[in-house]
């Protein structure tokens, strides 16, 4: 249907239904309500005052006042990632919008559906360098999936509905709507969600090509050394996708590994689970990837932290790649069998073909393959040297997991970025999808606390723990105030080694141990800091006291910071050094005799 006809039909449809006149600000809120939004994270300012005025006069949408716009976006990400719904943020023009840029980029790289509404100076002032004016659509064009500048109130509600469609359809992502202040004041007819005709052309393909599915399943049935490599796409495809994935993996008997973003889609306690892969993935996962003959990638994108050296990446495998975004196919790794489709639809189709054709995996070959994998597993790559008194960060997380297991509440983990993030991915056990909120693609320090706030708001009765480093947590530390304001009992578990640990680790391995600016000489007293904001602060610096402190943290009913003073010099292993392949990873015991000049 051409667009003109669509527009005519749309205007007829509007005339038929009882058009409700309201101002732009009310239209924004009505559209959000129609789209199922119950919570919005934001910060007021001059160019969004009409929307804040409308917010004040209603109770259908709960507004959460953050302390910095970046945090509004991360909180919306936490909300979205932990619920599977679209997260919403509201920021003002100029600095409000530029502060949101990091959060938008984070959501773009991790494919999180976000709607960000930004105020803009009135249309007649655009382009005049007005107070708090910034070219928001220009600035955010490369860091959103799509963005809109609304210059006519008649298009406002339909634009918002379309923005939601774009944000949640296909590969999800952030969409920004820039609304000048005069448009927020102007009156117009509201167009409901069902009356809008969405841009007829934005319809990404979600159904898999059945011929490709048949070929893929045949490859799987004949595989001798197969491996499933799954990613965030499975989680984005909804909990049903994870359920189907479990069925497929169990029926085939193949090993499975996953990216950081995909953790939880397959339960970590299962025998077929190899652990995370990549730079700090497990030895068995990386070796299985290197030596496999058929690789089944579902919803992952061959990130450079996952592949290691591309030239030496899984040299002898036939690669099946399922991705909803065609641009991920052949982007960095040559694919033998691409399937551009939704993960859930694809796994469902694979399962049905597998069952219908009565395929059985090559039992003898798979058994031999598992025997090889068990040998890699026996290396126990996550082993670390325990200490009698000094707390090793890995040990702290093992104990944390122990107490999480004892707890009857649902547990959601968010992380900041750095060594602690990798240790959390290695040592915490994710059994369900949507339980880990972490900044994978962009690696945004300061993500964890606001994401925990968004997560806790979406799941008030759940246990929400932000695993943090003492450097990362300070990047959005002001959000402690938000957590207190809304009585959010977020637990912040700081693995405090006084260093920007991951950067320090690279300086040790790659830059001749010249530790340039990675030691924080003036750290705050985190106990007093927590108390200053109105929360509880705990500290532990001895192995003997660790359990007691974690237990205490689990029982607090309010915001709690636990300052775990850990070994300063512990490095994150195993590790694929730069330029190396999956089968050249170094283990912790090797590290001491590891020739750093080789890297």
């Amino acid at each position: 249907m051409n667009i003109i006809k669509a527009a005519q039909k749309q205007s007829k449809a509007i005339k038929k239904s009882k058009a409700i006149e309201m101002n732009g600000a009310e239209m924004v809120l009505q559209s959000l309500v129609d789209q199922g939004v119950d919570t919005i994270f934001g910060y007021p300012g001059g160019a969004v005052l009409p929307i804040y005025d409308a917010l004040y006069q209603q109770d259908r949408i709960k507004h959460i006042l953050v302390r910095h716009e970046q945090a509004a976006l991360h909180a919306a990400e936490g909300y979205a990632r932990s619920t599977g719904k679209v997260g919403c943020a509201l920021v003002t023009s100029g600095p409000g919008a530029t502060n949101a840029v990091t959060g938008l980029t984070d959501a773009l790289l991790d494919s999180i559906p976000i709607i960000c509404i930004s105020g803009q100076v009135p249309t007649f002032l655009i382009g005049t360098d007005a107070f708090q004016e910034a070219d928001t659509v220009g600035i955010t064009r490369p860091c959103t999936k799509h963005n809109f500048l609304v210059k006519n109130v008649a298009e406002l509600s339909s634009t918002i509905h379309e923005a939601f469609h774009v944000a949640r359809t296909g590969r999800p992502g952030p969409v920004l709507i820039d609304i000048p202040k005069d448009i927020q004041f102007a009156n117009g007819d509201y167009v409901g969600k069902n009356e809008v005709i969405i841009h007829t052309h934005y319809k990404p393909n979600t159904k898999p090509d059945m011929a490709a599915i048949e070929k893929a399943v045949e490859l799987m049935a004949n595989a001798k050394c197969p491996v499933f490599y799954t990613g965030g796409g499975v989680i984005n495809a909804g909990s049903e996708a994870s359920k189907l994935l479990r069925e497929l993996v169990r029926e085939t008997g193949f090993p499975i590994t996953s990216t950081l973003m995909g953790l939880g889609a397959y339960p970590a306690n299962d025998d077929q689970w190899l652990g995370m892969l990549g730079m700090h993935g497990t030895f068995e996962a990386n070796w299985a990837m290197h030596d496999c003959d058929v690789m089944i990638n579902i919803g992952a994108r061959f990130d450079d932290r996952v592949t290691g050296n591309i030239a030496k990446f899984s040299p002898n495998s036939t690669k099946i790649h399922v991705d909803i975004d065609a641009s991920n196919i052949n982007k960095t790794v040559a694919i033998d069998l691409p399937i551009v489709a939704d993960a859930k639809e694809t796994i469902k189709a694979m399962l049905s073909v597998w069952r219908k054709k009565g395929y059985k995996a090559d039992q003898a070959a798979i058994k031999a393959w598992w025997e090889r994998i068990e040998k890699w597993r026996a290396i126990n790559c996550l082993a670390y040297k325990k200490h009698e008194t000094i707390i090793k960060p890995q040990y702290a997380l093992e104990r944390l997991q122990h107490f999480i297991d004892q707890d009857s509440r649902k547990t959601y983990i968010t992380t900041e970025v750095g060594q602690h993030q990798m240790w959390a991915a290695q040592f915490l056990k994710f059994e369900e999808p949507n339980r880990l909120m972490t900044s994978g693609g962009l690696g945004t320090m300061g993500y964890g606390l606001p994401a925990a706030i968004g997560t806790q708001l979406a799941h008030p009765d759940a246990l929400t723990i932000c695993v943090a480093g003492e450097a990362s947590i300070q990047m959005n530390i002001q959000e402690l105030s938000t957590a207190i304001q809304y009585n959010l009992p977020v637990k912040i578990f700081i693995l405090n080694n006084q260093w920007m640990g991951m950067v320090r680790q690279w300086q040790e391995l790659l830059h001749g141990e010249r530790y340039s600016e990675t030691y924080t000489e003036a750290l705050p007293d985190f106990i007093k800091l927590a108390e200053a904001y109105g929360g509880v602060g705990l500290r532990v610096d001895n192995v003997d006291k660790l359990d007691g402190v974690i237990e205490e943290m689990m029982q607090t009913k309010c915001l709690t910071i636990v300052d775990v003073c850990v070994d300063e010099k512990e490095n994150c292993f195993p590790m694929i050094p730069s330029g190396k392949a999956h089968n050249e990873m170094i283990l912790s015991p090797d590290a001491e005799k590891f020739d750093k000049s080789l890297v």
Binding site: R141, R171, L510
Partner: protein
Amino acid sequence: MNNPKTKRVKKYKSVYAQPPAQEANESHILAILVNNEPGVLARVIGLYSGRGYNIESLTVAETNHSEHLSRITIVCNGTPAVIEQIKSQLERLVPVLEVSDLTVECKYIERELALIKVACTGDKRIEALRTADIFRARAVDSTLESFVFEVTGTAEKINAFIDLMTALGLVDVSRTGIAAIARGSKAIGA
């Protein structure tokens, strides 16, 4: 003496992989049908600059006024893998309806128009007119000491014409960039 702070760094190491070996670049003509909405050209160009792709020529105009569709023709170069990436990256843009790689998908016709100003007198003037005649260029403006020629053809033909005119007093050139269309009855976006 062995203070690590004063040691000079000889070899640089990075946590990023080495750049891959480069394949030979090819030049491709892409025809892109887009919704003519504000910012659409910026989205397309931003994608090229943001991802480090090269543009050799670009033309754009609304080609379907009733449906507000514009056609962008981009000549770009890169390895076959890069060209495939460019195509699929363009296809994910929300206002992009269709991307057609004319170079690989079909036989096509390409044309460029150029306006070429030559300032000369005497014998050179006669030679300029004679050369223009060979290239089927038309003189569209004339003064006693200058001509403006309009010439259409492939980029190579225009290059050749410009080369000849250089010796005769070339002073200014304006080129449209390449427009291209598939041979036969099939249309893009149909």
